[in-house]
Amino acid sequence: MSYARIVWAHLQKDLRLEWRSKDAINGMLFFSLLVVVLFSFAFDPTMAVSRQIAGGILWVALLFASTTALNQTWTRELRHQVLDAQRMAPSPASALFLAKVLANFLFVTMIQVVLGPLFIIFYNLHALGQGWLMALVLPLGTLALVVNGTFFAALSLRTRNREMLLPLILFPVSIPALLAMVQSTTGILTGEFDPGLWMRMLAGYDIIFLTLCLLLFETILNAE
């Protein structure tokens, strides 16, 4: 399929660039580590309540990490006006967006792979609910963060103060997703309530916003 091939071309390029420079990964790793350690100092992880706040900590760390990555994601296209070349290419703009989302998703997932075990060790976690559900919640939540984040990063690309603007417009819109992520994680970790509803909501959020972003991306890319 031709669309898929173009997405792949973009994705391959992004991965290669990241591999050569390691900008995003690096910053993300640093700050997520900082957060995990900070929290284990702040809050005696051996306490029983640790399970209740662990969901929040995990997602804040990730939000943190991904904002760093997201800010980088388009900067690279701005340098040397590569973005102008993208705008002039006949391939669909949404493919560019989709590839960026995938790339960011991969980066954040990579961070999770590092962060997750650390987290479990530091907080001595073992889920009282169905632990395997985390394998669904994590990607769903990451996708929610990354889809909107990539879109809004592109939106604020050519504005003054773009680094500042990104969190300002990203966070309010992402609140439902964050809520669902935290709640389903807490549900899983404490086993006190069923995370199913929240997870379905997260999935719904992902689908709605991915569609919306794909539809509107062309508009913002060529907004002048």
Binding site: R158, V173, L179, I220, A223
Partner: protein, 238 residues
């Protein structure tokens, strides 16, 4: 337009005055809460307006996106409506938040709680602040397009917020109107409430119109100075 304003503004203020009179002197005092309940006549109408004007903003934004290439003149007008309604939304939501908090302190003993309704109103407020910030942070021709896109996101997001926090702890009174049998307010409170609703609606519409006019003026002045600078030559003092 001018006429509507000249006529409408006094009318809106008059209705509001009647509403104030009704709410303060005519409506009966509520049994459990006492006089503090009278804030209801401001709290509920402004919250209702705060939920109404976002739709105006959404429709105007869609019109803008649809016509910005084919009919730039109409798109400009639509954008002015979008801006005006966003600002008015923010005014109403702010009033709703403040009156709610003023009410909450004596009744609940706290200023704020993470209750479903309160939270969703707060998120609505946050989103519209970010909308206006976006408009200020961007420059040139892109402002309007980007803002219109954000407005669509906001419109999709608010119902989701609303749904999601249904499953959250709640403290705010349940719906009073259309809540089924056993709900509703004392019929004696009704006139005061209706006067206030009408008054705030009229006032809100006038505000939107005023703001719209102002924005159109600004667009016009911009256009004219542009044309002047085209005539005058390249280096033009501002």
């Amino acid at each position: 337009m001018r006429r509507v304003l000249q006529f409408g503004l006094p009318v809106a203020l008059a209705i509001l005055a009647v509403g104030f009179y009704q709410a303060t002197y005519v409506a009966p005092t509520e049994a459990t809460m006492g006089n503090i309940q009278r804030i209801f006549y401001y709290h509920v109408p402004s919250n209702i307006m705060g939920l109404l004007f976002p739709y105006v903003n959404l429709v105007a934004s869609i019109v803008f996106l649809a016509t910005r290439r084919s009919n730039p003149m109409r798109a400009q007008a639509a954008d002015a409506v979008a801006l005006a309604s966003a600002e008015v939304t923010l005014v109403f939501v702010s009033i709703g938040l403040v009156t709610g908090m003023l009410w909450a302190k004596p009744v609940w003993g706290i200023w704020w709680t993470w209750d479903a309704r309160l939270t969703s109103v707060l998120v609505l407020w946050l989103i519209y602040v970010s909308y206006l910030l976006l408009r200020r942070f961007t420059a040139g021709g892109q402002t309007q397009t980007l803002a219109a896109v954000l407005s669509i996101f906001a419109a999709v997001d608010v119902p989701i917020v609303y749904m999601s926090i249904r499953w959250w702890r709640t403290q705010h009174p349940a719906p009073v109107f259309f809540g089924g049998p056993g709900t509703g307010i004392d019929p004696h409170m009704m006139p005061a409430f209706l006067w206030n609703i009408a008054g705030w609606l009229a006032w809100g519409l006038m505000l939107v119109m005023l703001r719209y006019n102002l924005e159109r003026k600004r667009q016009q002045v911009e256009q004219e100075s542009a044309l002047r600078s085209l005539e005058a030559g390249q280096e033009v003092a501002r």
